[in-house]
Subunit: 321 residues, 2 copies
């Protein structure tokens, strides 16, 4: 699938993805809160992707890749490198199809992440926590298994899959002025851009990013990709850089990128838990943090917010540190 | 409304309640989890009453009482004694109708509970933390205000309102073998009995109770109400005793009462947060605790579980103590 990375997905790919993955994903609900509407002055619609079975929107793109494989490739399975939600979601989708999933992960990854991948039948090959080791190890695994590489975000199948989330959100709300989603590598934002630029071109798309990992913000201002080396943030799903395909969507369709500090993210996370009564990751709380910080930009608007995931270590809550 | 306490509500009261309160409550979603189904061997359907705006099912009964008042009584408002979800839900419903709500609460009640009641416009009169002081203070408040007494559970309007939850759950799931709900004073269980005995008489109703506050269990076995004095449990919504009206439903329609230890409740609470990714109170976790403890009784069955509320102090999580 090497050439596939150069293909820019279209909205008909999103529609095809939706039909393909519907049996395997949850049609997640939209939560609202009068209290949060009063607090922000906006009308907020939270799309609960934390309610996907493996706890993250990434099951959409992963399922689209897995269930789109022909039988010959499916027999060899899929492979990826990730220590986050993509690894568990790809393992989950592969388990549903009954095909192998190989994951390269640094040996330093949290035990809970490894346990989840294995629970879904994923096979882990550990590497050193460096890019060189990861690439070498992954090349070896792929050569041995012939598994199809499903990149966590820089893959048209993945982006088309993530685009199904904004499609559902627009159907469920009947229209929005703004959609805000977190940005890390840009998979969710790219899928959102792909969908909204086609079905709701007047809806603004705002990306939300941690100040401490603001490479997308700086890329957006500079007009070219700036990649940081290992930024540190509580929003651990958002540390990765943009790639060519996601940069295409970000640079063409995103209206603005807003950032929030670590304290603002943690406060928004606690507010989300307290008033929406859902368990959402720190990464998922960056959008609300930016809305609370920039109330004037959102006041009076109908605003969709994508709660991207809910895999949290309940013994290590950031506001209790 | 003193005589109202003697009236046993019927299913048409539930239907009337549902029509009356629909504009003021959330039609809460039902959550499922493949993981929890595998863990228990049952097919579980969790009705998320924690997603009501004030965070608890009690907004159903409170709204039914508040919006059922005639104009003359409405002008005088409502009154209750409660330091829990009933106080905030009654204040919330009164705020929506724009009428006064007076709440008698011990001065020892948590500040957060007082803040919530006041946020919804409820007026708090503090008493000493004793039954005598509470009754004296409440009599005085009621005499001064003429507010209609809405008991937290021993009130036919409240029970009919709570019965709308099981009605929705049956509509959403298309039928269940068993419904499990926590039991404290018995308002939710009574509403569930009222609804299911009419629309699904073959569905078993199981009440779940903390071992350390097992007065309903002992009442059920003894055949008459046994009331404890101030039991201690992490499930703080379930400390209150049965009363005549709720005893009527419990003694006639409940199939069994199962209990769980404090540790089992806390473990079930953590599992709920981790795998359903919702914020649920300890009281709401007693049903899952009893299901995990009595797997054989539930295996292979379609089981509804009512997540009664989600008002939790996020700084004091029981598994971190």
């Amino acid at each position: 699938m090497k050439d596939a990375a150069m293909y820019i997905p279209t909205y008909s790919d999103v529609e095809a993805a939706h039909e393909r993955i519907k049996p395997y994903i949850r049609h997640t609900p939209v939560r609202t809160s009068d209290y949060l509407n009063e607090l922000t002055g906006a009308e907020l619609f939270f799309k609960c992707e934390n309610f996907q079975e493996p706890g993250a929107f990434k099951v959409r793109g992963a399922s689209n890749a897995v269930f789109g494989l022909d039988e010959a490739q499916a027999a060899k399975g899929v492979a990826t490198h990730s220590s986050g939600n993509h690894a568990s979601c790809l393992s989950y989708a592969a388990m549903l199809r009954g095909i192998p999933c190989n994951v390269v992960m640094p040996h330093t990854a949290p035990q809970a992440k490894k346990d989840t991948v294995r629970r879904y039948g994923g096979k882990i090959t550990e590497c050193e926590p460096s890019t060189t080791s990861r690439e070498e190890t992954f090349a070896k695994v792929q050569e041995q298994t012939g598994g199809d590489f499903v990149h966590p975000y820089n893959d048209p199948r993945v982006i088309a899959g993530q685009g199904t989330c904004a499609k559902e959100l627009m159907e469920q709300t009947g229209g929005l002025d703004i959609v805000v989603a977190p940005i890390g590598g840009g998979g969710m934002i790219s899928g959102t851009c792909l969908t909204l630029s086609n079905i709701a071109p007047r809806t603004q798309i705002i990306a939300a990013e941690p100040e401490q990992a603001d490479d997308a913000y700086r890329s957006f201002k500079a007009g070219h990709i700036i990649a940081d080396d290992a930024p540190e943030t509580i929003a651990d799903g958002l540390k990765v850089p943009l790639k060519d395909l996601t940069w295409h969507f970000v640079s063409n369709h995103v209206s603005d990128i807003l950032t929030a500090s670590e304290d603002e993210i943690i406060e928004a996370m606690k507010i989300t838990w307290k008033h929406l009564r859902i368990v959402a990751e720190a990464s998922s709380s960056v959008p609300l943090a930016t809305i609370l910080k920039n109330k004037d930009a959102f006041a009076g608007k109908r605003v969709g917010v994508i709660i991207t995931g809910g895999n949290v270590d309940l013994d290590l809550l950031p506001w209790l540190k």
